[in-house]
Amino acid sequence: MGELVSQETAGSVGDVPERGEPVEMLLNMGPQHPSTHGVFRLVLWVDGEKVIRAEPHIGYLHRGSEKLCEGEQYHQIITLFDRLDYVANFNNELVYCQAVEKLMGLVVPERAEYVRVILCELNRIASHLLFVATMGLDAGAMTPSMFCFRGRERVQTLFEAVSGARMMHNYFRIGGIKEDLPDNFEQLVADLLPLLREDVGESDRLLTFNEIFLARLKDVGVISTEDALDFGLTGPCLRACGIEYDVRKAEPYSIYDRFDFDIPVGLDGDCWDRHYVRVQEMYESLRIIEQALDQMPSGDVASSLGRRLIRPPEGEVYARAENPRGEIGVYLVSDGTDKPHRVKVRPPSFCNLSAIEHMLKDSWIADVVVILGSLDIVLGEVDR
């Protein structure tokens, strides 16, 4: 009886745990949080500073893009693809256009292919610059973001000159690009390149081998090669584990087989490797753009279809491309009408983010933001 009373008293004082006894605390991060890079909620079960379990919640930005595609004509869908990965719009437009072109057997004018590649690689640089900026901010470095945003601004100014919009360009067309390419396009790109190389180099020198930055990122958020493949990680996140896989090399689409470039890979699959792979990719993209400018022929850029309504033949197609965030895939089912039967997007961020639960387990709470940041997610394509 006396024993029972003492238990009750202990309860009434409050659940003060014994010293050394594990205590679970629930910590809610998001959906509105500056370092979730969008509307993303993470529920963390922590024991002191250690994360025991993490549960990601997505869907706050779900707009039903795939369903919306079923109600739009083929050319109208390009705008929906702009809004998936809203940091790499051109790359998204490209993969969709390629899917429809594959289905219809269309040949794209030579000059348009080069313009597409140049714009996509510039977009990759702009996207990676944003990653470096936010990675620095997540790790506590303010200054590099200034250099990154200066470079990104230059790219976006060029995009505006070309397409009329800084984001959401709606510029690629099925079978080519929109007909109004500026006459001095080559000159604009050629003028931009040295400036961009300087911006990339400056942010790289300032951040990548900084001692504090290294201490924050090295050996943090390690994912093994087997796990990376199992979770479907692609792009820089997979290459950081040491796997030399890039769709541009493995199954060259568009005209990527004409350029000489390397695939940067990491060694350990930690946050720093994911950062470093992206920084090196920017230099490779600059190399591709330089070669493309040299090889670029003159001629027509507009699609042979003109502005006609298109009805691809009945059939299915799966198109793949290398986006800044990883491999994007478009599975398109056509029933022969002017609207697709089904459009399924394989968004790279979706798979990369699905590994977060595994990566955060047993990490420190101070590293959560860095690990999440190193995946470089865009919630627009995670939720669709």
Partner: protein, 173 residues
């Protein structure tokens, strides 16, 4: 569903596959040899070799595709669900890291009780894909650890991926 269990005569499948490159043909015949017991129907998804199987075989076929030496489909690239109004089609797009080694596996599930074995035990990438397909199409994946809503909020009624779901209606939150 009905035609998935019948194998095409050799000459017909040869005709369908004539558009494939040699390495892809070789790969497809290798895969078909391994999966002989499941009587897959060969075909093409664009330029990707494709196999149609019965829904009940999905898990064992996927496991064989991942574990058989020489095939080793390391990644599940995409899991799509397509609504054909009288049945659903689940499409698995698999990939090993070599070039020309992409494979599509298709299975048809009936409309009234759509269910297919979960492949999360083969690739953990399937986890979110299956939750998404469950959310949007109402397909259930037997053996999935937790088919909780992923993209939709708790208590959402209906399956918005389906063709029958009204396009422009509003639902009170």
């Amino acid at each position: 569903m009905a035609e998935a269990d019948s194998t095409l005569p050799d000459e017909v499948s040869e005709d369908i596959l004539s558009g494939l490159t040699d390495s892809k043909r070789q790969f497809l015949s290798q895969v078909a040899g391994v999966l002989e017991d499941y009587e897959p129907k060969l075909g093409l998804l664009g330029d990707v070799p494709q196999l149609s199987i019965l829904p009940a075989d999905a898990l064992s076929v996927c496991r064989q595709m991942k574990e058989t030496p020489g095939i080793r489909m390391a990644q599940l690239l995409c899991l799509a669900c397509v609504d054909y109004s009288d049945h659903f089609q689940i499409v698995y797009i698999l990939h090993s890291l070599e070039s020309d080694r992409t494979l599509a596996i298709k299975t048809d599930v009936p409309y009234d009780h759509p269910a297919v074995p979960s492949v999360t035990s083969v690739w953990r990438a399937a986890d979110w894909y299956e939750r998404e397909a469950h959310d949007l199409f109402g397909v259930s994946f037997d053996g999935h650890p937790a088919l909780s809503p992923l993209l939709l909020y708790d208590g959402f009624e209906g399956f918005p991926g389906r063709k029958e779901f009204p396009f422009n209606d509003y639902q009170e939150f």
